[in-house]
Symmetry: C2
Subunit: 402 residues, 2 copies
């Protein structure tokens, strides 16, 4: 059965690399794509049926081989952050940060950001879809990051997941709307991120370039078929593979501390260098992204060699991801290790099963204290791990990080 939604039009697509200036793999893949498009141009061949743009996200930081100059660019695209940047740019007394300025430029070039829940009220953004290319120093393999409830991008993610010849996972943003999402890709109508690791910052590895290029090629292949009106055929192919109608994915656990986007196991920083960790990730956890730890398991180690165990704050057992990500040594990027929740989304609607279950359970209990019911639902869906404690209040601030 085909979904009821009107299929999104795909006429303008941007591929962005270097949103974090020291993530060289994305920049290399953007440059390789530019070469490919140039060659086609010389040969008068049009490969893609939509307009395909390439962009270096943060060229100033890239030249400096830094994640960012002043603050993380990929946290500057919430509606509020853009409004703030706009107001500073108009002010004669305040200095605008490099990344605030760049966010305004990119919003002009690829956006503008839609700021209503009902997108019909907004000026449509120039890009129908942004594919943002990222790397991580963690052993995450290839991870496709998309928002929930977006039929186009969740099905595209399922398409890449099914066809990639190497380990690939889907990570779902649980933000209800585009307005709050701080990521560069959120200024287009649809957001799609390809995250590849492990690769050091400021280094290009051929094997990781190939993984990113394969995921990118499959993404563009899906978009091309979607543009050509093959939505029903794509859905039928996917449902044949995901025959329950559900696609396995991960999402970030909700934050329990105010101001955080999502659950983080944090380390303290050095007094004389706020970006230098005073505790480091314990070797028993290093490189073991998407595996479980329990309360009392070694998690960090300090300068004296003292082991700091997991304190159980997010429940037990929990799944970790972005373990020892170099970018997360920075406060403005969100210090710490992310806590992941195993989930599934509905292929037809792109909605997370846990969200649906939570909504049902909230209606049923008419209370915010729905943890037990929610855990029951999760178990019914065949999940292995226990969910961390979450409340309706924290759920709205949840997102995945990249």
């Amino acid at each position: 059965m085909m979904q009821q939604h009107m299929p999104s039009m795909i006429n303008n697509v941007a591929v962005v690399g270097g949103t974090h200036g020291n993530e060289y793999t994305g920049v290399f893949c953007v440059k390789a794509l530019e070469r490919q498009l140039q060659q086609q141009d010389i040969q008068n061949r049009i490969r893609y049926p939509f307009h395909l743009s390439t962009v270096i996200g943060n060229p100033v930081a890239h030249i400096q081989n830094k994640r960012f100059v002043d603050t993380d660019l990929n946290r500057q695209f919430s509606y509020d952050a853009l409004q703030k940047a706009k107001s500073i740019s108009r002010s004669t007394s305040q200095n605008i940060m490099v990344e605030q300025q760049r966010a305004l430029e990119l919003n002009e070039l690829l956006g503008p950001k839609q700021f209503h829940d009902d997108v019909d009220d907004d000026v449509p953004p120039k890009m129908d879809l942004i594919i943002d290319l990222h790397t991580t120093t963690t052993n995450m393999g290839v991870t496709i990051i998309v928002g929930q409830d977006d039929v186009l991008t969740t099905q595209c993610a399922a398409y890449v997941l099914q066809r990639c010849p190497f380990t690939t996972r889907i990570l779902i943003h649980t933000h209800a709307n585009q307005k709050e999402r701080p990521h560069l890709s959120s200024i287009a109508k649809h957001a799609f991120t390809i995250e590849v690791g492990a690769v050091p910052q400021g280094v290009v590895r051929h094997d990781k370039v190939e993984e990113m290029q394969t995921a990118l090629r499959l993404t563009l292949e899906f978009l091309q078929r979607w543009h050509d009106g093959q939505q029903e055929q794509l859905y039928n192919e996917l449902i044949e593979h995901f025959d329950s109608g559900n696609v396995p994915c991960y999402r970030s656990a909700p934050a329990i501390r105010e101001g955080e986007m999502s659950a983080k196991l944090q380390w303290p920083s050095s007094k004389d260098n706020p970006n230098f960790p005073l505790w480091i990730v314990h070797k028993s956890v290093q490189d073991r992204d998407f595996t479980q730890i329990q309360t009392g398991d070694p998690l960090f180690v300090d300068l004296d060699g003292t082991v700091i165990p997991y304190d159980g704050a997010y429940g037990s057992p929990i799944i970790l991801m972005f373990i020892n990500e170099g970018g997360y040594y920075y406060g403005s990027s969100g210090t710490g290790i992310s806590v992941a929740v195993q989930d599934e989304f509905d292929l037809e609607t792109g909605s997370l099963l846990s969200t649906n279950n939570r909504k049902m359970s909230m209606t049923r209990t008419n209370s915010n204290d729905n943890d037990n019911n929610n855990n029951d639902d999760i178990k019914k869906n065949g999940q292995q791990q226990q969910q961390p404690v979450e409340t309706a209040a924290t759920t709205t601030t949840t997102t995945s990080e990249l």
Copy 2:
């Protein structure tokens, strides 16, 4: 048999981390050592019989999480570079670079650099020995880097090599004298570098911290025993292990291009970013440090995916090291992959066997064109690989890089 040289006095030792600001492991180990010394101070215990100082090599670059601010600090300590920095610092019209300024400070603090071949003419440096802690993004494991003809540090390297429970190698500088060496450690009487990989820049891995700490602990243990007058006992222990009297090591192959410190297989850089590679290291070579390649083997790949094979410029087969080192994306650090030569040094004198053989062969042939004789000598010493073409003129510019 004990060597004839007078044993060096070890009264002042400095441990330096962060000579490259984004090599976090060395900084973490320096901070951990500072904690250890502080604890001993509180307990009124003196663990080391010599004065042990700790230094952050490039604190400005470290705060910025960059290898360097203006230019590679670890290339600023040749006699000529220090003289140039001194002259700029006195000039009112010229701006001094951050690393030139820091080189002068460190030379004052830990040196001064000895500039005569016969060191008796010089003011003795404040430090008898500098242990400089480095990391690499390459899969080199633990590498101890010392100069040739130095009995103290070559025996210390052999001591660490023998006792480390993980893969450890020795890399020997073939500079004839201290004067030309551009490295920070060369301003002390004796230079000792511990290089650990693979670890991303700007990231601390617990397993790599442990490797660096083990190598550092063994180094300090050797120095302590040396200080305590156990030179003969140390030598006897080592000769029992290295019973031929020869210790296996590597050295850099000589440069064939003017201005280079040592043999490098280079990639071209992007026009719009001189530190961004236009070619990347082929996946068949990645992570295979200290293995051989032959003429025609895949070496690089370009933006179009075209494979660039090894052209045989340094002979065939050759051994590679520092394969895809993130620091070597910078011109001032020496762009490219290093070519290694397998060698051995004499435990009694610290002299390289190949150098001894070359000297003999040069006397014998009375000619610079001694490649064939040299290759014969190498083969006699049980080496596997062919030596690259080298002449007396290029030999003097050879060094290992870090």
